[in-house]
């Protein structure tokens, strides 16, 4: 039950990694970026249709930058809206059709500007999430991430900072994963209280979005939704990057090691551990046999 006039913002972050989507288009004709964006639009429209005070934002996360698809700087309210070919003639709520057109236009712009760069092939998800957080400052908001490409390990610190910032601001991060599981997003959902779902059927994306991610957090408590995934919180040792369950931690710099070494390699502190006393076996007296 929502308090009337309470603004609720949904920020949809779409991973539009051109390399992944380009490859995807070659593997699977049924579900391409166009189809994905259509599903996102349906989700956005539904969210705005739920209540007059609901607001929407859509951000595209590219490997060059992150770009707002909606609301867009090029939007001029009022006159332009009417003459545009946007009036699709189906009696749609004007706000929705305007939104859809803007999103389409912007994504066309973004993708046309894609350049080929070998060195950055990862989606700049952390940066996009940071932008999303900036939007939802004073209003109740949540973020839905639609993830396509794999995690980028280099963004770890930024990602974690974003997650904790979201937690502090009570902003939920939901994740809908199309391809490979993302440990970072699993953590994000676990920490902020959102839902993580890797969908088995990409073509049914719209259905999953509407069923699982459309309700907001209060409504979710009344529904039966997929249970939270088990998150692997094991730490990785600093020496080998192996995930370990039990390890040694330097008390000075808090770096984690899988084996004991008398000097911490990070901060060069020397440690002494008292090893258990070695008990010398007592010499048994040999009995003399007569």
């Amino acid at each position: 039950f929502k308090v009337p006039d309470e603004i609720s913002l949904l920020v949809i972050v779409v991973d539009v990694n051109p390399i992944w989507w380009g490859q995807q288009a070659q593997r699977e004709q049924e579900f391409t970026l166009s189809k994905c964006l259509d599903a996102v639009m349906v989700m956005g429209n539904s969210h705005m249709a739920m209540s007059r005070t609901n607001k929407l934002a859509v951000i595209a996360s590219h490997c060059q930058d992150s770009h707002f698809l909606y609301p867009s700087k090029s939007w001029k309210a009022g006159d332009d809206g009417a003459d545009d070919a946007s009036s699709s003639g189906d009696g749609k709520y004007e706000l929705l059709s305007v939104a859809n057109n803007l999103i389409a236009e912007e994504i066309r712009n973004v993708m046309s500007k894609t350049e080929v760069r070998g060195n950055s092939t990862d989606t700049l998800l952390a940066g996009t999430l940071a932008k999303a957080l900036c939007l939802g400052q004073e209003i109740k908001s949540r973020i839905l991430v639609i993830k396509a490409a794999e995690d980028c390990a280099l963004q770890y610190m930024n990602f974690m900072n974003v997650i904790f910032a979201a937690q502090k601001q009570n902003i939920l991060i939901d994740a809908c994963v199309l391809d490979s599981n993302s440990g970072l997003l699993q953590q994000a959902c676990d920490i902020t209280g959102g839902l993580y779902l890797k969908i088995p059927q990409q073509v049914a994306l719209a259905q999953y979005l509407l069923w699982v991610f459309l309700p907001d957090s209060e409504q979710r408590s009344q529904l039966v939704l997929p249970p939270p995934a088990h998150v692997d919180y094991r730490a990785a040792c600093f020496c080998h990057r192996n995930l370990i369950e039990i390890g040694y931690v330097c008390s000075v710099c808090l770096s984690i090691f899988c084996n004991f070494s008398p000097i911490c390699t990070t901060c060069e502190t020397a440690f002494k551990i008292q090893l258990p006393q070695m008990v010398k076996p007592k010499k048994k007296k040999l009995k003399q046999t007569t």
Binding site: Q26, S34, P226
Partner: protein
Amino acid sequence: MASLSEEVLLVVKKVRQRKQDGTLYLMAERVAWGPEGKDRFTVSHLYADIRCQKISPDGKAKIQLQLVLHTGESTTFHFANESSALKDRDATKELLQQLLPKFKKKANKELEEKNRMLQEDPVLFQLYKDLVVSQVISAEEFWANRLGGINNTDPAVVNNKQEVGISGAFLADIRPQTDGCNGLRYNLTADIIESIFRTYPAVKQKYSENVPHNLTEKEFWTRFFQSHYFHRDRINTGTQDIFSECAKQDEKGLKSLVIQGVKNPLVDLLSLEDKTLDEGYGICTTLPSTSNANKTVKESSNSAIIKRFNHHSAMVLAAGSRKGVFTSLLTASSSETSSTDGNSRDSDFFQPPVKKVKLQEAIEYEDLQRENRPKTVALNLKKSDRYAHGPVPLQSQHYTTSQDIINSVNYIRHEMMNYKPNLTEVLSSTAASSAIAALSPGGVLMQAGAQQAINQMVPTEVQGELKHLYVAAGELLRHFWSCFPVNTPFLEEKVMKMKSNLERFQVTKLCPFQEKIQRQYLSTNLTGHLEEMLQTAYSKFHIWQTRRMMRKT
């Protein structure tokens, strides 16, 4: 048996106990009774164990004295000496009256401490009930680690209570009520009496001198309130009043206070004077004289009240700061207050330079001084980039050739160039229904949710019992494991005792609990971990025992 070093304070012959003739002995720390002719004591009680004594009423034929112990037991002595029974009994009673209070405090303190700890901590209380009341371990073992040496530490540390100060208005608070017919009722509580004694040691002296020999307590206080000492106008009405001496002492004290003056060099009391400019704003030339001779009656009674007022305040302050010899030697500032009471005998043998300290206080601010923080060592990180990597192990990236990249980018650009949303064909019905099936209970995505959280399946009282079991088991296991390594014979004994305690715990507490939950058809294994812990303890004990056997052979 009586040890030779015990001092015997009183011997009373012909005292019967349980219909047997014998002799009663009162010693330094205990009371004992031995039957006639025998050399040893059959009854012996430490004064610390005795809660109170009772005597038979005066009219009765049998002259008896009963000792009630803290445990509730009581022992009765019958004084059977025909001639001096009553005297004997009374002598015994009085001696006990003097001795018991000395020992009472020690015993009570421990018990009080225990009670307090049990009351304050419900977990501890529950643990106590589980372990001691059901006789899994004895009370001594339970309290062994917890009391923290009430008897060992010096009283200065243990006695953390702050001393209560004296309210300046305590005399005024007595508030007499009219009795109806021309009399006044004064309600005296123990607190007020204590305040009076602390503030006016002279009164305390008079009290100890006169009560209970000459006057009863009631009479003493009646006289106190009647005397002019108490009332405003202290006009000495002769020496009949026992308090007139007190009044004289107070006068002396006040005079010595004035002579002592204030030790603070920054305060000059003498420059303060009551100078009035009289009417006429100073035009009038004759100054009013302040000599005593011209004082009117009103002025002299005013000055008497003021004098009393000042004296009372000084006494209250002195009583508050009079804590014994130590504090007066401590700091320079307190040396000032310790001699505010003109009658105090503990003069300062040390007189640290008060002036210097006062001046320092006046010119320096602590906050503005440089902070003396302990020296710290700076953190020196050689490889700080290690922190930037998360627990994502460096996986092998998939390799995309540059040709792949170029192809993909071109493809996508081509696709999106003419992108138009087609919202009427987003989802086919088959896709939708299979998605819904996957999301419905029992579907592919809903499997993990079938396992309900344990705490929803187990009733709360069972959970509570389990918690208590864990706390109790934890306590026993802690005692057990702390015995290792077993170095001393004491630890050997303790480890064996703890093992039997653990077994007893398992039998009396754990097994019934397991049976209970089985009866309730709870299939979850709630006690698996507890059993595991106990098993580990048993196997450790077994290993230790076999090693010990081997060492002996």
